[in-house]
Amino acid sequence: MDGFLDLLSLPAVQRSAIGLLIAAVGLPIVGVFIIGLDIIAVRFAMMHVALLGIAVGLLAGLDPMLCGLAACALAGAGVAPLARRPTGLPGAMGLLMTFAIAAALLVLSVSGVNATGAFELLWGSILATREIDLIVLGALTVVVHVLFWRWRRQLALLLFDRELALCSGVAAGPLLLALLVVVAVAIGASIRLTGALLVDALTVLPALGARNLGRSLRSIVLWAVVLGVVGNTAGFAVALLIDQPPGPVLVLVAGTLTLLTYLIPEGARDAIDPGRRTDRGGDPVAAGQRVWQH
């Protein structure tokens, strides 16, 4: 226990803890978008797209990380038109991954840059969090929350049925484009900030668990953030306690939490739904009481 407290008093560990907390508040929403769009392959795709961008950056003498993120943004925007077909996106992500690996290897080979060196630029670690990383994570979290809370009605319709969204006045095309670009850049940046393995614990794992708990997009997002914060705080504490690398420990803890959500019976979801509001419609008894009160 003393060792734990000693570790926590280190500025580097404190920075990691803060970084993780910020990420755990924002990135689970990205995970919800990923599950909603059915693009789990996006993590692998963006890893290699970012690598391609870094390779191009190194070749052209530009900032490699900026080029990596720009490549992610472009790739996200590039696959948006494929979302018109119901099965377009998941396939596109797989294809993108393969294309990006091949292109990255080719560019690295042509430029004579060492592939491992390029990968190291991409591959961060939560234990090496710098102040600038905290700022980037904070900005990402703000962008994701604004995107969700500002357009949550439209997003709920879009992620339910694109045609219903179109018939409800939702600008489905631009919204989807924004969604894909934000997801792509967030994934690219988080690989750099937290390491590729941790990205899953921060995005898809909480979102998968939240889908088992929530009954609407809003409650799924709230649950995802709760699971993200709880899972990552607990995972980080466990990693410090047993003095093991946080990446794998965090994923195991977050994964266990997600698994537990599968044990909750369907019928019990009503009682625990944070999106539940008793003030409008819904329960006929409550509605009757309201009439009676007036």
Binding site: L159, F160, E163, C167, G169, G173, R211, L217, G281
Partner: protein, 209 residues
């Protein structure tokens, strides 16, 4: 406000299969037309094409004299024409009944219509937990909300297919009273009787009875 709808040689294809074949149809402002015809004769495709949900290989559809080409024009078209789909392609996330009702553009009217259609107490339920008939009633309520919000026409694709007999009568009466142009795909007698005119599709072609 209500609008005339004109279909001019509308043709739609799925690959090589011509699902809608040079259909001409004039619906006067405020007129109620029932569209019948065998399964697979192209009724759904025709209506979806008019909403820009399926591309037309040839021909045009105008609503209130306006055709649609650009994204903005299609968005306007979808505001102008309330839509009750035959079936959904639901995504991975649940949608609440209230969220669906609100999406028509007039939450209060849609909720009032939902109460009238006996689905007023389902607001907080996810759509996938409703029965087929309940889902259809909710979609109708949403469309009635859209009409209150300013839609000048209603396309309803077999809106009573999953309803009980009382429900079929109830919806037929409700639609008959609607002060907008209505095109309703239906095989149900109560509904066709309540319309001004019946048009029948067969293998992609249309004939007016």
């Amino acid at each position: 406000m209500t609008a005339a709808i004109t279909f001019t040689t509308v043709t739609c294809r799925y690959g090589r299969h011509t699902a809608v074949d040079a259909v001409d149809l004039d619906v006067a402002a405020g007129e109620h037309v029932a569209l019948t015809g065998a399964n697979g004769s192209g009724k759904t495709t025709l209506l979806r094409a008019a909403l820009g949900l399926h591309p037309t290989a040839a021909g045009t559809v105008t609503v209130g004299g306006e055709s649609a080409r650009s994204g903005v024009e299609w968005a306007r078209r979808r505001r102008d024409v309330a839509w009750v789909p035959q079936r959904l392609a639901p995504g991975r996330f649940p949608l609440l009944v209230d969220e669906l009702l609100d999406s028509g553009g007039h939450p209060d009217a849609a909720r009032a219509a939902a109460r009238q259609l006996d689905v007023g107490g389902l607001g907080r339920r996810p759509l996938h937990t409703l029965s087929g008939g309940q889902l259809q009633r909710v979609f109708l309520a949403r469309a009635l909300g859209a009409v209150t919000a300013g839609a000048r026409a209603l396309f309803a694709d077999e809106p009573t297919a999953a309803l009980d007999f009382d429900g079929q009568e109830q919806v037929a009466t409700l639609l008959a009273k609607l002060p907008v142009t209505v095109v309703v795909v239906s095989h149900d007698r109560a509904m066709t009787r309540a319309c001004d005119r019946v048009a029948e599709m067969a293998a992609g072609k249309l004939r007016v009875i």
